[in-house]
Symmetry: C2
Subunit: 262 residues, 2 copies
């Protein structure tokens, strides 16, 4: 085995990935695969597809893009599907009650290009056909991709929504000037590292009875997560924050043994 063989594939081939959250119809998954490849994208992730996988209906509609389906990464949870991502964008209507940057398709595409140049691993996620994503799912995103749809008839077909993003991304490939982006010498934290940070923080806050009234806890947690997501922590900073929490909680007694795993 040569060293070259062990090298990971070039980052521009694998990223950005498109992640379909709980997709329902195989035909739509196939149509998404086709339009991704039409615009030169290859990485597809599926979270808990409704029907069995592999899905023959998807293969029929994908036409010549079966390679995208074959290489699709299928996970049961969104958490697993996003674990290695460092930049997550949710394609959805402007969400209520979540403080996130809202980007057009063009801004999303240019920001992804700029992020790739910094070594990030971006994922764009799209919700299921009928209901769209849950607020908790959208809350995982660093930013929102919103399309200028007719407010009276806003529900886009899944493949059409992906088509617009993939087109904007293909156009951005040709762009010569990229927006200035998060500058750092240290690699960005992955979703998994952030998730561990959040769990650690939330556990310690629960111990300190921070979340009251109890029914407000999910909202309070979401708002806390939003703050750290917006800060775009590096790996180093996520580690530092873990240390901060440990330092703040040490000596409260009885908690040090059950720190969440790293």
């Amino acid at each position: 085995m040569t060293r070259a063989r062990n090298m990971p594939p070039p980052i521009e081939e694998e990223w950005p990935a498109v992640c379909l959250v709980r997709p329902q119809m195989g035909e739509n998954i196939g149509a998404v695969a086709r339009v991704l490849l039409n615009f030169g994208l290859k990485s597809l992730r599926l979270v808990s597809p409704r029907d069995r996988w592999p899905n023959p209906k998807a293969e029929v509609v994908a036409v010549g893009a079966d390679v995208v389906l074959k290489n699709a990464k299928v996970e049961w949870t969104l958490e697993d599907a996003l674990s290695d991502a460092t930049l997550v964008i949710a394609a959805t209507a402007r969400p209520r009650g979540l403080e996130k940057p809202v980007w057009s398709a063009r801004e999303t595409a240019l920001n992804i290009r700029a992020a790739l140049a910094q070594g990030e691993r971006p994922v764009v996620m799209f919700g299921p056909e009928a209901a769209g994503m849950e607020t908790e799912e959208i809350a995982r995103a660093d930013a929102i991709l919103t399309l200028p749809v007719n407010p009276g008839f806003a529900s886009l077909n899944l493949a059409n929504a992906v088509a617009v993003f993939a087109f904007a991304y293909a156009e951005a490939r040709q762009a010569t000037e990229l927006p200035s982006w998060f500058q750092s010498d240290s690699p960005p934290a992955t979703q998994e590292e952030l998730e561990n940070l959040f769990l650690h923080l939330e556990q310690e806050l629960e111990h300190g009875r921070f979340f009251h009234p109890m029914d407000k806890a999910p909202l309070m947690k979401r708002n806390l997560r939003s703050i750290f997501l917006r800060a775009r922590l590096t790996q180093q900073e996520a580690q530092t924050m873990r240390g901060v929490i440990k330092a703040l909680t040490i000596g409260r007694g009885g908690r040090k043994k059950d720190d969440p795993q790293d």
Copy 2:
């Protein structure tokens, strides 16, 4: 009947129209209707759809956009479908051997907005699923809309291609600055007026044995048409050109009786 009642609907409601040339699958026609309405467009034209019309499969897929299907204008020939258009854009790969401006989706959308502001009636046409448009069909266009597709896998699903245009158009609605456009105090010639001019010119040229060798005639005619299409004639200029042809041919004998109809 009040005067207001007799007023035509505002021009921005009816234009641009999207024209599907020889579409095959009803599902695709329905998906096009849906995505048009998603992005606030309403005018659909169908040239010689393969299956019967109305098509129940189209209605199922259109979901809540049946109004777009119900109001779709169905014609047997592309000539009829474009007769009232003053600006025709063909969505296709960059054509060989046709001298036409080539526009991105964004340029197409901005040029359409600018053209509407000048009272033009723009139509964007999309070819059938498998084979695309014939060269003779593309030759009718003033400009080409080309998308940045993967050359190794370029064939877009019909509704996805329309989705990208409709999205770009919805974005252009929000644009504050429009490109400078064909300026004239006189209304632009319609496709029907141009067609009559071309037929008149071609008939007279045939009489003068202009087209030889015979097998080159279609190409020579197409190139001639391209010149006048690029010139973006006004109605007045199209009339003037008819007069020019008459003036040039008068006295050649035997032709004045069978001028093509106006």
